[in-house]
Symmetry: C2
Subunit: 239 residues, 2 copies
């Protein structure tokens, strides 16, 4: 009887499906690896006219293959490029060299971007019957994006509860929200997150530039964790 | 001095810009007409693979021309059709003949659709410096969509405040939220909303079917207001 219970619990756990917003960077690779411990994966990626769109998409598919995702969906949000207002999507605004100590909201902020990703995640989760939408957002560590704050996700979870069917209950899970890049690198190595398949650079698609905000944060994370990064860089602080 | 103040107030008022989510139906036509009283218009329309997409888009441009919109933006959310789960976007689910008295959530509900429209509205409003996003949602009158409830919009307004720059303040205005279709028709006629340019039918694009939920609500509104609808129908309840 106890054995049956274990089998039942095992099957029940495996029936659980999580949508994971997966950009293809370190944070989403770790988040998907964490989500996989809870059940099956439905990985969602968005193209939105960002500079390294094609390279990120390759990382997304590599991660989905590696993690054995049950479902995958790529959506097009290229109107975010038309709306503009960010160095990530507007060719006329230069991607700045890193300044990850600044308290200002960086010019790479894409207005209200995470709301679009979450809305797609919630719509898809409601149709699939998934119980969670995972996002690899990190509140601190210098990113400074307002739509990466924990309070924003709490509020959006409430909006999702009010704006979907009464029987739909979807949690927005953000397991990395309080971590620093060092913690992310360390946890990822411990649970075998496939970091070698990821892409973080905001600027280039062949070799990571090693100079933009995103490269600097990533490199600092590996350095502080005392391990090497397996992807290649054009240039790093140490030359 | 008083005259200068009036001029200044007039100019200040005219500097105000509102984003209006404009499907091309009665409700959004009235909403845009109301928003125009507060200043300039930036009209936003979404294609999302709905059956009458091209016809709705024509109404959108006709309304934008008629109201002298300062800005207009058409976005593509066709991934909502891929996600599916609604008779509006899934060719395998039949659009039902109207049953506008039912308490169930109708099969034309597109999962969390208004969150996508609002997210686009907020992103665009933040870049344009607009102070409001108007939506022509109606809570009652039988539509039954969870993402049309006033409480959902309150919550989303809070999410938008938390997820955008600290200096960004955008209200989500929903002037029709408590109205019935009869009130909408009456107010529209009083303030010259261009109802003759609108499209409501969920099913057909040449002549409105006169039988789907949306046609029935519209027809009932005109009937209760005691005036005729200027668009043509294939079939109406009265034959």
């Amino acid at each position: 009887m106890e054995y049956d219970l274990i089998i039942w619990m095992h099957n029940k756990e495996k029936e659980n499906l999580s949508v994971v917003l997966t950009s293809g960077g370190l944070d989403s690779a770790l988040t998907a690896t964490i989500a996989k411990q809870e059940g099956d994966l439905a990985l969602l990626h968005a193209n939105y006219g960002q500079r390294t769109e094609a390279r990120e998409l390759k990382s997304f598919h590599d991660l989905a293959d590696h993690l054995g995702a049950k479902e995958r969906l790529v959506i097009d949000l290229s109107f975010l490029k038309v709306i503009g207002g960010s160095a990530l999507t507007d060719d006329e605004i230069e991607v700045p060299l890193g300044d990850i100590k600044s308290k200002e909201i960086p010019i790479t902020y894409v207005p209200f971007r995470n709301a679009h990703f979450l809305s797609a995640g919630i719509s898809w989760a409601e149709v699939l019957g998934a119980s969670s939408v995972f996002i690899g957002a990190v509140e601190e560590d210098g990113s400074g994006y307002p739509d990466c704050r924990d309070a924003f996700f709490d509020s959006f979870e409430e909006s999702a509860s009010l704006g979907t069917r009464p029987e739909t209950k979807i949690l927005i899970k953000r397991p990395l929200i309080k971590m620093r890049k060092k913690d992310i690198v360390e946890l990822g190595l411990r649970i075998n997150a496939p970091f070698h398949l990821t892409w973080s650079c905001y600027k280039d698609s062949l070799l990571a530039c090693g100079e933009c905000d995103s490269c600097l944060l990533r490199l600092r994370g590996f350095e502080e964790a005392g391990v090497g990064d397996k992807i290649k860089y054009k240039k790093t602080i140490r030359g």
